[in-house]
């Protein structure tokens, strides 16, 4: 049995359009588009491009915030220091681990929640949506504290409620070991951002044409077959966009680690490393170089998703 999707609609140019020239109307539309998008574009340049360029520039210097007089040009020296340091590679590993685990679990959970929202009774739907969205509305630092308190050996309830689980005892020190710390960090991240992914998937689910479902039903397809052969193939774009956004977000994980372990037990992420060099050590040059490398990593992820998995951002918006 093959998957069923609607044939792509071809975007064809109107036959009457003259080749090579733009009509007055097209020109004025283009102008309007620039006028409408222009302010946003300028703001983006100001708040995104400017800091990125400044960080790139400063990453070429040996520059300590408290000692601006001794600022000196070191070229790519800062990058050399970072890339030859095992701590950098360890942080990359930890960040990739957290990203992979959280995004995968969130995708499955988020899909389940989206299905619940779609299938729920009309009367229940608004309440259900609000309830599912609450964690996403909580500030990350607050959620990190809440999870930390829950797992804390002194004030937490987890150790007393879950002693029946293997590996959990009254004196389990969750933040005293790398893997248990990472477990709690991942749990907090998953709890907080699953609603985001489920919202994106809900939009995708709504795009699956009802006619295809009905046709599959008439053909005698089971519920499971309809899910795998009709629903999922038709919302591939939405899934990929959800994955892309969450991966980019997860790769910059900082708040939860900062609150829960402050980087102890080898739980430093790349963002945390940037914070430590720039804010704590006041080494603006070295810290900027870490930030630039983090930026490049994020660009690489976006590139791999868009080119490698052929994610069409326009298609996801239903264009």
């Amino acid at each position: 049995m093959s998957t069923t999707t609607l044939p792509p609609t071809k975007k064809t140019a109107p036959v009457s359009a003259p080749k090579g020239t733009t009509s007055d109307r097209a020109r004025s539309e283009r102008k309007l588009a620039w006028l409408l998008a222009g302010p946003a574009f300028l703001v983006m340049l100001l708040v995104t491009a400017y800091p990125i360029l400044q960080a790139t520039y400063e990453s070429l210097f040996d520059y300590r915030l408290t000692d601006p007089d001794n600022r000196s040009f070191v070229g790519l020296g800062n990058y050399g220091v970072i890339l030859s340091d095992p701590l950098w590679w360890q942080s990359i590993g930890i960040t990739a681990f957290i990203t992979a685990v959280t995004v995968l679990v969130e995708l499955v959970l988020g899909f389940a929640l989206a299905l619940v929202m779609v299938k729920a009774l009309r009367a229940l739907r608004p309440i259900l949506r609000a309830a599912i969205l609450i964690p996403y509305a909580v500030i990350t630092v607050v959620s990190a504290f809440a999870w930390q308190f829950a797992f804390d050996i002194n004030s937490g309830f987890v150790n007393s409620w879950f002693t029946w689980l293997p590996g959990v005892a009254a004196d389990t020190d969750w933040f005293g070991d790398r893997w248990t710390s990472l477990l709690v960090i991942c749990l907090a991240e998953i709890w907080k951002t699953t609603p985001f992914i489920s919202l994106l998937l809900l939009a995708g689910l709504a795009q699956v044409p009802e006619v295809l479902q009905e046709a599959a039903k008439v053909d005698g397809a089971t519920r499971w077959q309809r899910m795998w052969r009709v629903t999922i193939p038709n919302m591939k774009a939405a899934i990929m966009v959800a994955l892309l956004f969450r991966t980019l977000d997860a790769f910059r994980v900082f708040d939860t680690i900062f609150i829960m372990t402050n980087g102890a037990n080898g739980t430093e992420s790349v963002s945390f490393l940037a914070y430590r060099q720039t804010i704590a050590r006041l080494e603006i040059g070295l810290g900027s170089a870490v930030s630039v490398l983090l930026f490049l990593a994020v660009v690489l992820i976006a590139f791999v998703f868009i080119k490698g998995f052929k994610v069409d951002l326009a298609q996801a918006r239903g264009e």
Binding site: L65, D85, N154, D171, D173, G176, I279, A280, R281
Partner: protein, 452 residues
């Protein structure tokens, strides 16, 4: 009192607007709201530009003592200045981050700041502290414990005003020490208290979390063993010589490991902070515990709140910090808060006048009794009221005289975080190798050849 009313006026600087006319459009309302928010934010950023007599004191969070002292001094100034407090983050490292970033941007709103002593050289070296007038320096160092003067000094000059001087003591439960047969009248060693606690099935509390408190503990151990984290200081960070791989460093690591690996350490030792170890000491397993004096008023407060039995603080007693070697005197941690005046303050003279008021003996005595933060002025320790409220005051004073500061260098943060990274968790610190690794790491970090 012309300035008293100022305190009730919110410092937003926003113009009070009347209720919008009936039928006003939503957009108009939103616009007004946006204006209000913007005006408030701008005013908050700019501080009170014009009013030179309003001083802002950036304080570390406490039990309300500094705010009370601020209002007392405001009153005593008879209208020359008002002191308003602004609260800094909870931990010392974040307090430093916020202050330093503000000062690097020439923030004129910082008139006074409560500074943790190890960071004072960094602030002084960067030119973030307004010079202390000679007469003020003379007055504020009179009859002050030596460690607090040392903590306020950089390059042989007083750069901050000693306020309160903290030190850690060995808190113990009288019943536990007695049952273990430990004579607390005599100096005790770490080995003795671990053994005594183990024999009674009780806890030995210390700060094993990866935080500044771990450096505090390690520094006290290496100093008690007769060594130092920095053996040869230098202006050039690359020339700083570290003594972590010395025999004294090894001995300090042995004690870290001894405590962390003993049955008396408790299950969350590697995440134990000043606060959580005080909680452990309040529990029925409490035995011995190195910590600051706040432990005692904390327990009294818990009794008052009805969460702790009154018999618990009655069982508390304090002795001088444990020794590393039987025959060598202990070098307890030194901490506390000294007052710095911001280099970009618009009225440094008034700020120093306010600082002198803040550190007056009766304010120090009040702070000691109410918040458990020991005075730096020696005379406070003879105050009847202090002795009554804080029976351990003589031990604290003795400890302050013995206390050793943490390394004094503008690069303190690199050294401290390097130590935390190398010696955490304390149970895995190896006397044979950790010192050498830490030496290598911190030296490389100081030379900017390694990440931290």
């Amino acid at each position: 009192m012309p300035y008293a009313a100022d305190k009730d006026v919110p410092r937003t600087g926003a113009i009070r607007t009347g209720p919008p006319a009936r039928g006003a459009s939503r957009r108009g309302l939103a616009g007004a709201a946006a204006l209000l928010v913007t005006a408030g934010t701008l005013a908050a950023c700019g501080g009170d530009g014009g009013a030179a007599s309003s001083l802002t004191w950036y304080i570390n969070p406490d039990a309300g003592g500094q705010a009370e002292i601020a209002s007392r001094c405001t009153e005593a100034s008879e209208g020359r200045y008002t002191i308003e407090t602004a609260i800094l983050p909870r931990d010392a490292a974040s307090q430093r981050e916020q202050l330093i970033r503000r000062l690097a941007a020439n923030d004129a709103s910082i008139d006074l700041m409560s500074l943790d002593p190890p960071f004072i050289p960094e602030f002084a070296e960067a030119g973030f502290l307004a010079p202390v007038p000679e007469d003020v320096a003379e007055r504020v160092t009179e009859d002050v414990v030596e460690s607090a003067i040392e903590g306020s000094t950089w390059r042989d000059e007083i750069v901050a005003v000693p306020f309160w001087a903290n030190t850690q003591v060995l808190w113990y439960r009288k019943s536990v020490a007695e049952a273990a047969g430990l004579d607390m009248e005599q100096p005790v060693t770490w080995e003795q208290i671990v053994e005594a606690a183990e024999s009674q099935g009780k806890l030995v509390g210390a700060q094993g979390a990866r935080a500044e408190s771990l450096t505090v503990w390690f520094n006290a151990l290496i100093e008690s063993a007769g060594g130092s984290i920095i053996v040869e200081n230098s202006e050039n960070p690359e020339d700083i010589q570290l003594g972590l791989d010395s025999p004294e460093g090894e001995r300090a690591t042995e004690i870290l490991q001894l405590v962390a690996e003993s049955d008396a350490a408790g299950s969350a030792f590697s995440t134990s902070t000043e606060d959580s170890s005080a909680t452990g000491f309040e529990s029925e397993n409490g035995g011995f515990h190195v910590n600051y004096p706040f432990v005692y008023p904390r327990a009294l407060g818990a009794v008052e709140a009805g969460t702790l039995d009154a018999s618990v603080p009655e069982d508390y007693a304090a002795a001088v910090y444990p020794r590393v070697d039987e025959d060598t005197e202990a070098a307890p941690p030194y901490g506390g808060i000294n007052l710095g005046v911001g280099a970009f303050s618009e009225s440094p003279e008034l700020a120093y006048e306010a600082a002198e008021c803040i550190v007056e003996d009766e304010n120090q005595a009040y702070y000691f009794v109410s918040n458990g933060n020991p005075a730096s002025a020696t005379s406070v320790y003879d105050d009847e009221e202090v002795l009554e409220a804080f029976p351990q005051a003589p031990v604290i004073r003795e400890s302050l005289e013995l206390a050793a500061p943490r390394p004094q260098t503008p690069y303190y943060n690199e050294i401290s975080v390097g130590i935390q990274r190398s010696y955490h968790p304390p149970s895995t610190a190896d006397p044979g190798s950790t010192g050498e690794q830490a030496n290598e790491l911190i030296t490389a970090v100081l030379a900017k050849e390694d990440l931290l």
